[in-house]
Symmetry: D2
Subunit: 349 residues, 4 copies
C-alpha cells in the first residue's frame, strides 16, 4: 500500500461500473484501491472469483486476490466510490455517510436530495459547498446519469454565453449503459429498443439541477424546457445524442463552435489527473462524431461534438458523443473525488 495515496473503497465492485472504477483507478496518482466491497453473495470470495471480469484490459494481479468485503460501514477507507445498483444504493450510501464516510456515488438514489450536489466538476464545482448542509457525519456526493453528462457539458458553454430556452434531445445509447449482464443479445442484436426505463425523466430533470445556481442551502434549478427520447442501439460503448437548442440570444455557428472549443473550467485549471485537457472537441467532418472513432478521445473524458447547423424548428441542431462508462460513470465520479481532494475535503482523512 502506497502511504502517499488516499485509500479508497469501491462499493458494488463486481458489477460493470465497479470494474470500470478498478480499471481507471489502477494507476491513479492520488487514490489507491484498498478495499473492494460487493453483495453478500460475493463477500468473502477472492475478487477474481466473485467478479466475471468483462473489461477489455486484463484485471491487474493486485486485485485478483483481494477478498471481497461486505458493503457495510466498517471499511477502513474513508472515501468510497459507489457503483451500487439503485435497488440497494440508497440505504447503503446513507449508512456510510452516517458513519463518516465520503460517498461519491454513481447511483441515482440521492441525486435529487435537496442537500446533495449533483456534480459535473467543470460545470458546477461550487455546488460541492452543499455538503455543508448535510447532517451526515460524512457526506454524499452524486454523479449524474451517463446520458446527462455528455449533454450538459455540451450545453454549458451555450447556457453561459447565449442562454438556453429549450433543449430537445434524442439519444442512441450503448449497451454497456445497461450494466452486466444487462441486455440479452437476442434483444438488441439487429435491433433498436426505443425505450430505457427512467432515462427520459433523468435527462429532462438532471440538467436543470446541474446548471442551477447555488443558494445558501440549496440549488435553484435552471429554467430550461427539455424533452428527451431515449433509444438503445447495438453499440458497445458510447452514447450518441441528437440535440436541438433554442437560445435566449442570437449566436452564429462560428460563435458557438468557439464557445465549445474555448471551454475550460476548474478541473482544467487545477490540472486534475482525470480532467480532459479539452472537455469539448468539435469535429468539422460531416460524418462525425461516431462511437467507434471518438469514444476514447481525451481518454474517454471529453465530449465530441459535430454537425452544428441551423434548425427549422429550434435555433440549432448538432450531434454529441461521450463515453458512457468513463465520462458518464466511473471517470466522471473519480473526477469529482479529485476536485474534492484538491479543495481540501480530504485533508483530514
Amino acid at each position: 500500500m502506497n502511504k502517499n495515496k488516499i485509500p479508497v473503497a469501491i462499493l458494488g465492485a463486481t458489477g460493470s461500473v465497479g470494474q470500470k472504477f478498478i480499471e481507471l483507478l489502477s494507476d491513479h496518482p492520488w487514490f489507491e484501491i484498498a478495499e473492494l466491497a460487493a453483495s453478500d453473495k460475493s463477500a468473502g470470495k477472492k475478487y477474481s472469483e466473485a467478479a466475471n471480469w468483462i473489461m477489455s484490459s486484463s484485471l491487474k494481479e493486485k486485485y485478483k486476490n483481494m477478498t471481497v468485503q461486505k458493503c457495510e460501514p466498517i471499511l477502513n477507507s474513508k472515501v468510497v466510490f459507489s457503483a451500487l445498483d439503485s435497488s440497494v444504493a440508497g440505504e447503503i450510501e446513507t449508512e456510510f455517510a452516517n458513519k463518516g464516510y465520503y460517498v461519491i456515488s454513481n447511483a441515482r438514489n440521492h441525486r435529487f436530495d435537496k442537500d446533495v450536489p449533483l456534480m459535473v466538476p467543470e460545470i458546477n464545482p461550487n455546488h460541492l459547498n452543499l455538503i455543508r448542509q448535510q447532517n451526515y457525519k460524512g457526506a454524499i456526493i452524486t454523479n449524474p446519469n451517463c446520458s446527462t453528462i455528455g449533454l450538459v457539458l455540451a450545453l454549458k458553454p451555450l447556457y453561459d454565453n447565449f442562454g438556453l430556452d429549450a433543449v430537445n434531445v434524442v439519444t442512441l445509447q450503448a449497451i454497456s449503459g445497461a450494466g452486466y449482464p444487462g441486455l440479452a443479445s437476442l434483444d438488441i442484436y439487429d435491433n433498436v429498443i426505443p425505450y430505457i426505463s427512467g432515462e427520459e425523466d433523468k435527462l429532462e430533470s438532471e440538467p436543470l439541477k446541474i446548471l442551477g445556481s447555488l443558494n445558501e442551502n440549496s440549488i435553484d434549478n435552471a429554467a430550461i424546457k427539455i424533452s428527451a427520447q431515449c433509444n438503445r442501439v447495438a453499440v458497445i460503448d458510447g452514447h450518441t445524442e441528437c440535440v436541438q437548442v433554442k437560445l435566449k440570444t442570437k449566436a452564429s455557428i462560428q460563435e458557438i463552435i468557439e464557445a465549445w472549443q474555448n471551454y475550460k473550467s476548474i478541473p482544467q485549471q487545477l490540472n486534475l489527473p482525470t480532467a480532459p485537457e479539452h472537455p469539448i472537441v468539435y469535429f468539422y467532418e460531416e460524418k462525425y462524431p461516431q462511437p467507434k472513432l471518438h469514444r476514447n478521445i481525451e481518454k474517454g473524458m471529453a465530449v465530441a461534438i459535430g454537425r452544428l447547423r441551423e434548425d427549422p424548428l429550434f435555433d440549432f441542431k448538432f450531434v454529441i458523443h461521450s463515453h458512457n462508462t468513463v465520462r458518464g460513470a466511473a471517470g466522471g465520479t473519480i473526477l469529482i473525488a479529485e476536485l474534492m481532494k484538491s479543495q481540501g475535503y480530504m485533508d483530514n482523512l
Copy 2:
C-alpha cells in the same frame, strides 16, 4: 409467360432494391416479371451470374437463367419498375417515358418534377392525375424516400384529423437502406453514423408534396415545418423514427391512437394485392416498436407505432417503425402500380 398477367420489367435489377422487386413480384397475381435490365456491365449475362443475390429467400429458378437486358427503351414490357441508382436514373427514366413506358420509380431524380406525382397510395391516390400534365408519351410516377414513407403514413391521420403545425424527426436507419455493397462492415459494426447524405433534405421536403393538395396541374405543398436528423445504426432492415408533432387543434392520446387504428384508404378499399389490411398498427407495450419484432408486420407494408406520450416542447411524441426496403422501397412502388392498374391506367397496354 402467364397471358393473364401484365408483363413488367425491372431497371437496375441486380442491385439490392432490384432484388427486392424480384422477391416481391415473384408470385404477384397481376404482374409478371418479363425482363430484367441492368447496367451494360451486367447486360448479356444470365441473371444469376450478373447479380450477387443477397435476399434471404432463394432466387427462383425462373429468374436465374433470364438474360439481363440493357436499360434501353427497347424492352417489350410497357410497365417498368425503376430501381436505378440516382446517378443514372434521371436520364434513363426520361428516355423510357418518352418512348411510351410507364416508369414507376424508386429513384429520387424526378420526385420534385412539377408534373410527377410523389405517391403513397393510401395518402394521395388522386395525385396520380398529375401524369395527365406530363408531356411524355408514357409517364413517370415516383415513390418517396424510405424514411419518408413511414413518417408520412403516421402523420396523415393526424394531418387530416387535427392539423399539423410542426414535425420533428430523428431517425435510426437500417444498413440495407444504403444499398449493396453499401456500408463497409468496419464503418457500422459497433457504431452509429450520424449522417446520411441528402436524407435530411428529403425528410424535410418530401412529406410536404405528398401531403399537399392537387391543383389543376400541380401540387400545393402542405404548410408544415419539419426538422429531420438522420442516423445509420447497425440494424439490417427497418427504420425507427422518433417523432414529435405540434398539432393545429387539441387532441387526446386516445383520439390520436384511434385515428391511427381506424386509418384505411383507397388501397384497402380496393383490396390491392400488396396493400396492408391495417396500414398503421399501434402497440401499447412501452418497448415497442422494434425492428426485429415489427419489420415484417403486414408483410412489411404497415407502419408500427408506439410510445405515444405528451411532450414538453411539442404536443406529442411517439416512435414509428417501418420496413425500409418493403414499404419504403420495392413494396411501396409495387403498390403504386397496383393502384394505377386498378384505376384503368394499364387497360390498353
Copy 3:
C-alpha cells in the same frame, strides 16, 4: 378447437424453444395447441403476460389469452411437446410418461436412457419401436441436440454409402441456441466464445446412438470416432459446422454430392407436413452455405452443405449449416410427432 386435430400441450411454453413450438404449430394440419404449460411462476397468468415473446412473427391472438398451466400431468392433451429446461425436464417428463402421456422432448435428460429413442425421423425411424420397451404407461421420445441434427443428417448418406471411420467437427453456433435471455450482449457482441457447456460431449456421443442399429431392446451404437469443438458466434439463428470425414471405402466428390442430393427417407415418402422435400441441399458456390442466406431453406428443415473438397488429413472436408431452433429443436421434434402419428401411435388417444 378443431375436432379433427390432435390436441397437444407444450411444456416450457414461455421459453424461446416453447415460443418456437407455438410459432410452428400455429397452423399445423394435424395438431392443435390446446394447452400451454410453464413454471409455477407463470402458471395462472395469461400467456401474453407470462411470456416475453421474442419471435419475429407476431403472437397469434388465439394464444394470447390462454391461461398458462402448471407442468403437472393433469393436462387434457395426451401428446406433450417438452421445451423444458434440462434442470427440471428429467423429472417432469418421467411423471408425464408415467401417467400415460406421450412426451416428445427437446431436452437432453432422457436422450441416453436405454429404452428411449433419440430420433431424427429421416435417419432412424425404426428406433421408434424402442418405446415398446419402456415401462411407462405413456412414452418418452427425444430429439437430439441442435448441433447434432445438422451434422448427423449430413453424415447419414455417407455412412450408408461409404462407411464412416472418423468425423471431426468444429461448430460456429448461433446465440439463439443458448435460449432466452441466454447470452449477455456484452459477452458475444464483437466476440467469439470458444466454449459451450456440455456441447462437445453431445456432439461426440449423440450421433453414435442416432446412427446406431436397433436390437431387440436397445441400440447398438455406431462405431465412429468423433471429435468436436464448439464455438458461439454473433449470429442470431443457424449453426455452421466445419466437418472432416474419413470414410471406410473410396468415394469421389461427385458420388458424395449425389448421395446427399438423392437422400430421401421415410418422412419424405410419407409426405409428413413438416418434412423438407429435400433434407439436404448442396450448394456449389464457394462462399456457401451461410446462416443469413440458408437458415430458412425448406422452411428451416433442411441442411445446407457446401465446399466439399479433399482433405490432407482426413478424406474430405465440407461445411454444413442448419437452423438450430427449427430443424435443431422445435421443428425436428414436431417431425417426430408427425412420424408417430403416421405410424399409428396416436390412433387411440
Copy 4:
C-alpha cells in the same frame, strides 16, 4: 525530424494496414515515419484527405499534413514497410529492392520466393541470413499471413519440444483482416462466411517454410501435414483458431502448457521495442481466449491460448487467439524491422 531515428516510409499508407503501421510507429523509439506513399490517385494530396482514417485512436497532427508520395523508388527513406495490396505489391516491391531499399512487406507476393525469408522473429530469426542470397541491391523480407502467425507461434514450442506430425486448424477470422472497405456490412452482419479466398492455402503452406530450417541458400520446409478451414465471423479484430495437433513424442497437458509459458526467444532476449514480454499467454478459464478480452494482451503482440485438452482423433486440441492487424500484420512486420536493426542490417543506411 528526429536525427537519432531511422526514417522509414510506408507504401500503401492509406489502406487499413497502412493506417495500423502509422498508429504503431507514431511513437516508435527507433523509427520515424518520414514518408507516406500510396496509389497515384492519392499521391499529391494531404494524408488526411487521401485516407479515410478508421483507426480508433486519432490520427496524429504530424501526419495529417504530410503530402502523400507515389510508390516509386525515389523516396528518401531506405527502409520501407509495404502495406500494399497484393495486386500491385509484387512489382513495386521488386523495384524498390532493386534500387537498394529494404522492403519489409506484409504482402503475400514474395513470401515463397526462394531467397526471401518469411519471418516471425521469435521463430526463425536466422532466416534473415537468406537475404544475402538475394540479387537485389536492397532486400525483400516478408511477414506471414495474419492467421498463420498466431498459429505458428503456438506450434513452435510444440515443434521444438515434442515434434509435430499433423496440424488441423479451423479459423474464425475478424473482418478487419479483409482490409477496408473490405466486407459489406450486409454480407457479414448476423452471418458467417465459410470461405476466405486463398487463406486455407496460406495456412497450409506458410508454417512449413517458417518452421523450416535454413540451408546454405534456401529453406528446407518442415515436414508437417496441415489441414486448414477458414471462416469469417462478425468480430472487428482478432482471429480465433481451433487447433488439433498430432505430436511425434508423448507429452502431458502440463508439459505443453509449460512449453508455452516458458517460450521466449531472440526478440525477448534483445528486448526489442515491439516484442511481447510473453509471446504466448495460457489461460485456464474454460471460456478463454476471446477476441474481446484478449486481442490486446501484450499490446496485441502475444498469442492467447486456452482449452488445451486431449483429442479423440489427434493427440490434443486447443484454442488460440491473436490480433490479426497487430501481431498478424503491422506489428509483426515492425518487429522484423527491429530484429534487422538490432542485428546490424541498418547500420549503414
